[in-house]
């Protein structure tokens, strides 16, 4: 493979991320990216778009013989602080975006992981601990630009906060895992950083914690709320490590947060047992909770991360069902369950049982009218998992092929 104008040489670190035997094409601009994609189509080579290679296990396919990196698309191109919008190239590291927005007292109201790029984050359709309060990622995406495998560029949406012109391809592509097109730019809605955050948490027996969780979930308050089991509870700032816990976080203006904490205490059966942490500790807990749901830094580690999604009312039953199913197979499940959204992250650190765990979790999902996906499993396990056809699969594929007729990206 020869390097053309507009392509840079992938750095040693980049190359190492994808494996020394995988060619990495690193275009500097849209024209070079388009040329790379046309090349792949002409040669019949399947390709995988990537940013910093932070989440290869969630990319599809993992066995693609060529990587196209958008790491050079790394500019924040249109931040309008007064309008609370930002336009970001797809290769901008999430940490860079977070720091830049914080300088203006703003944030993307979702919890950005420490690693990865904005393009990768959108392509993964990442979920956020604060999703129950601020909505899913798709609701924050105002527009995208990208390149199809034909080399043609496209855009959808725009930079304004309300826009219904054209099909909402920018929302449709959230979670598409790079299997339709290569995103080059994402426009996002912003919020003001909260004035304050307060975290409260309880440890104790599972049944008491479940009761406390349900009381908070139905209190009419607006908590970020998690029922934590195993290593998920080690994210809490009391340094007591794994266990069983319920954690609730309030954010916003000081008066409202203080009032909500007071109300939360009034609905809890054992308010005296609540430990409180404020601001920095609360923010750090969110970061650790995000990391808990992220793939391990070393994708070959013996760790599986699964995400189960059920109707909110089913959360605790499904979470217990998932833990029981895994433990019945001699695995150890670590669980963070969000009863406001029904999103349950399950982490298992035992490769031998991961394939069986996914099969068991699929049964749990079916029982609770939900869906489960493998966020990260070691490559050896991934190859054997297979895919489950979901509702609308044929229709989705029909639409996907309009973007990528030769299935170079899938």
């Amino acid at each position: 493979m020869t390097r053309r104008d507009g392509e840079r040489v992938a750095s040693r670190a980049e190359q190492a991320l994808f494996g020394d035997d995988v060619p990495v094409v690193a275009p500097r601009d849209t024209a070079a990216l388009a040329e790379s994609l046309r090349d792949a189509v002409a040669q019949g080579v399947r390709i995988r778009p990537a940013g910093l290679g932070a989440h290869p296990a969630e990319s599809d396919p993992v066995e693609a013989p060529r990587v196209v990196s958008v790491a050079a698309f790394d500019r924040i191109v249109a931040h309008s602080p007064d309008d609370f919008t930002v336009g970001v190239e797809a290769g901008v590291p999430l940490a860079t975006l977070r720091a830049e927005l914080a300088r203006h007292g703003q944030e993307v109201p979702a919890d950005l992981p420490a690693t990865g790029t904005i393009g990768g984050w959108v392509a993964r359709g990442a979920v956020s601990p604060r999703q129950g309060r601020h909505g899913p990622l798709a609701s924050l995406v105002l527009g995208v630009e990208g390149v199809r495998t034909s080399g043609e560029t496209f855009r959808s949406g725009g930079m304004v906060v309300k826009n219904v012109a054209g099909y909402a391809l920018h929302k449709f592509l959230v979670g598409s895992r790079g299997t339709s097109a290569v995103l080059t730019r994402v426009n996002l809605r912003l919020r003001q950083l909260p004035e304050t955050r307060t975290l409260g948490f309880l440890r104790g027996a599972a049944t008491e914690l479940d009761e406390a969780t349900e009381k908070l979930a139905t209190s009419g308050l607006e908590p970020v709320l998690f029922r934590l089991e195993g290593a998920a509870a080690a994210t809490l700032p009391d340094e007591r490590g794994p266990g069983s816990a319920v954690a609730f976080l309030f954010e916003g203006n000081r008066t409202r947060v203080a009032w909500q904490i007071e109300q939360a205490h009034s609905v809890l059966p054992n308010p005296g047992a609540v430990t409180r942490a404020t601001d920095d500790d609360a923010a750090a807990w969110l970061d650790r909770l995000v990391a808990f749901g992220e793939p391990p830094e070393n994708p070959r580690a013996d760790v599986g991360v699964f995400r189960l999604s059920v109707p909110a009312a089913e959360t605790l039953r499904a979470a217990h069902g998932a833990a029981t199913a895994i433990e019945a197979r001699e695995g150890l499940a670590h669980v963070a369950a969000d009863p406001m959204t029904g999103l349950i992250t399950i982490r298992q650190e035992d490769e031998r049982r991961l394939d069986q765990s996914l099969a068991a979790l699929r049964n749990v999902a079916t029982r609770h009218r939900g869906f489960v996906r493998a966020i990260s499993v070691p490559p050896a396990v991934h190859a054997g998992l297979g895919r489950v056809a979901t509702a609308g699969h044929e229709l989705r594929e029909r639409v996907r092929r309009v973007f990528d007729p030769g299935s170079v990206l899938s």
Binding site: D82, K162, V164, A165, G166, L169, W259, F371
Partner: protein
């Protein structure tokens, strides 16, 4: 009216009072809330079940007859305007609320349910359905899905697409698919997000799963009345910049105020008022005093003529009276009303409005503005006499130029009304040929025969090739 033979075969499957072919009965279906375009359908079916929709769509596919789904017909972009020779599927009778799950905060409804009925049903559970188009007492949720409707309170809660969790859709070949559901994650590309706002070009929605939102325990409403639009716009910009997110930030301009004051919805605005800014906060009472004080200070800094506030529901209704009655009051100005819908960045409100007034003067048309200032969603309303062809031509030309001004400011040609017939030829203002080819390619992949609400949303090159029966 004599029906083509295939229609007679379909008509036999329905009671006569649910299969309409009489010219006088079809008359009410010839346009939606955009009367500029009119076309009677060949026939109308009043559908009552999903299976009836499936039967109709399969019949349309087999006979190459276009179909147009329709709810209450309150849309403002011609999305439900019939095309020549079409079968119109009236979905108003499919209005059941199938489920409300208060704990999981979602509802499952049929597409003909009137928007406000869902909030009424959710209220005893402490919940509401947030998107509230101005026509919410008449418009249907299926229509809201088709047009991705907004409303005054979408500033805080988001528009329709942010509240749709799942859909059951009858595709253009009659196949039924279920997309999404009451869960927060989806397995792949999110087809629900693609179908919302597709204006019926992908088929007919027959069941909808919607997110419900906690009914706010406290609501505060206040008005700031200014002697200039610039002062009102500056106040909006400052509120936006502060990071406080009210649930509504609405502006009425001088001509609207005059129309309101001359109508039965008279709100008692001062005679020298040039702009009324309505602000509403909702949520927990705790912390709201600080936000209200901050907003009032921002308004005061821009020298309002008057500030009014409401502390109870009755006072709130009084403050909303002028805003809610604005469109009705326009009826006094002239015989017809062309309601435009453009969006600009919030920071470009003032300069874009100046352009709107300048364009109106240049084309000698009467424009008034009632708009969702908080999200930059402008609604220049042009009152005119539609019987005068010259005036109508000037109105349409002025409207186009106003939308061009929105795009030039970094905005869009629609914030909540959809593209429909009205703005399909303006799509190239926003999108390149490749973008449009991609979107119409998706439409063709889902509807290869081109029978699902054809001609809507995009410059319709395909219409010339399509076989249409009279």
């Amino acid at each position: 009216m004599s029906l083509p033979d295939p229609f007679r075969e379909l008509a036999r499957r329905f009671p006569a009072d649910r299969f309409l072919t009489d010219r006088t009965e079809l008359f009410v279906y010839e346009c939606d809330g955009l009367p500029v375009h009119r076309q009677p359908p060949a026939a109308v079916v009043l559908c009552e079940t999903r299976d009836e929709v499936v039967a109709c769509v399969k019949w349309c596919a087999a006979n190459e007859v276009p179909f147009v789904p329709r709810g209450a017909g309150t849309g403002l972009s011609g999305g439900a305007t019939p095309v020549r020779g079409c079968l119109l599927l009236d979905l108003n009778r499919m209005r059941a609320i199938r489920k409300i799950d208060a704990r999981s905060r979602y509802a499952v409804v049929e597409p003909g349910l009137i928007n406000v009925r869902l909030t009424e049903a959710a209220k005893p559970h402490g919940l509401m359905y947030a998107p509230d188009p101005s026509s919410q007492t008449a418009c249907t949720l299926g229509g809201n899905i088709a047009e991705n409707s907004g409303g005054p309170h979408c500033l805080k809660y988001g528009v329709t697409i942010d509240h749709v969790l799942g859909l059951e859709v009858v595709l253009p070949d009659g196949e039924v698919v279920r997309l999404g559901g009451p869960i927060a994650d989806h397995p792949d590309h999110d087809l629900v997000q693609l179908f919302v706002g597709a204006e019926g070009t992908f088929g007919v929605v027959t069941e909808i799963t919607l997110r419900l939102t906690p009914d706010p325990p406290e609501v505060r409403t206040f008005l700031a009345i200014f002697d200039s639009m610039a002062k009102a716009c500056r106040t909006v910009t400052e509120i936006t910049r502060s990071g406080i997110v009210p649930v509504a930030l609405e502006i009425l301009d001088r001509r609207t105020i005059e129309a309101v004051e001359a109508s039965v919805n008279r709100a008692g605005y001062p005679t020298n008022a040039a702009a009324v800014l309505l602000v509403e906060l909702d949520g927990f009472a705790a912390g709201m005093d600080e936000e209200e004080r901050a907003i009032v200070e921002m308004a005061r800094a821009n020298e309002p003529i008057e500030l009014r506030s409401a502390r109870d529901p009755a006072e709130r209704v009084a403050l909303w009276k002028g805003r809610k009655g604005a469109f009705g009051a326009m009826g006094r100005v002239d015989t017809d009303l062309y309601v435009l819908d453009g969006v600009v960045p919030r920071t470009a409100l003032e300069e874009t409005l100046e352009k709107v007034y300048e364009i109106a003067d240049r084309y000698r048309v009467k424009v008034s503005n009632v708009f969702h200032a908080g999200d930059g969603n402008l609604h220049p309303n042009i009152s005119y006499d539609g019987r005068d062809a010259d005036v109508t031509a000037r109105v349409l030309a002025a409207g186009e130029e106003m939308l061009r001004a929105c795009v030039a400011a970094g905005g869009s040609i629609s914030g909540e009304h959809g593209i429909g017939l009205e703005k399909r030829d303006f799509m190239p203002l926003l999108f390149g040929e490749g973008d449009l080819a991609l979107m119409t390619g998706i439409r063709d992949a889902i509807d290869p025969e081109g029978i699902a609400n054809p001609g809507k949303g995009f410059p319709d090159r395909r219409a010339k090739r399509r076989k249409v029966r009279a």
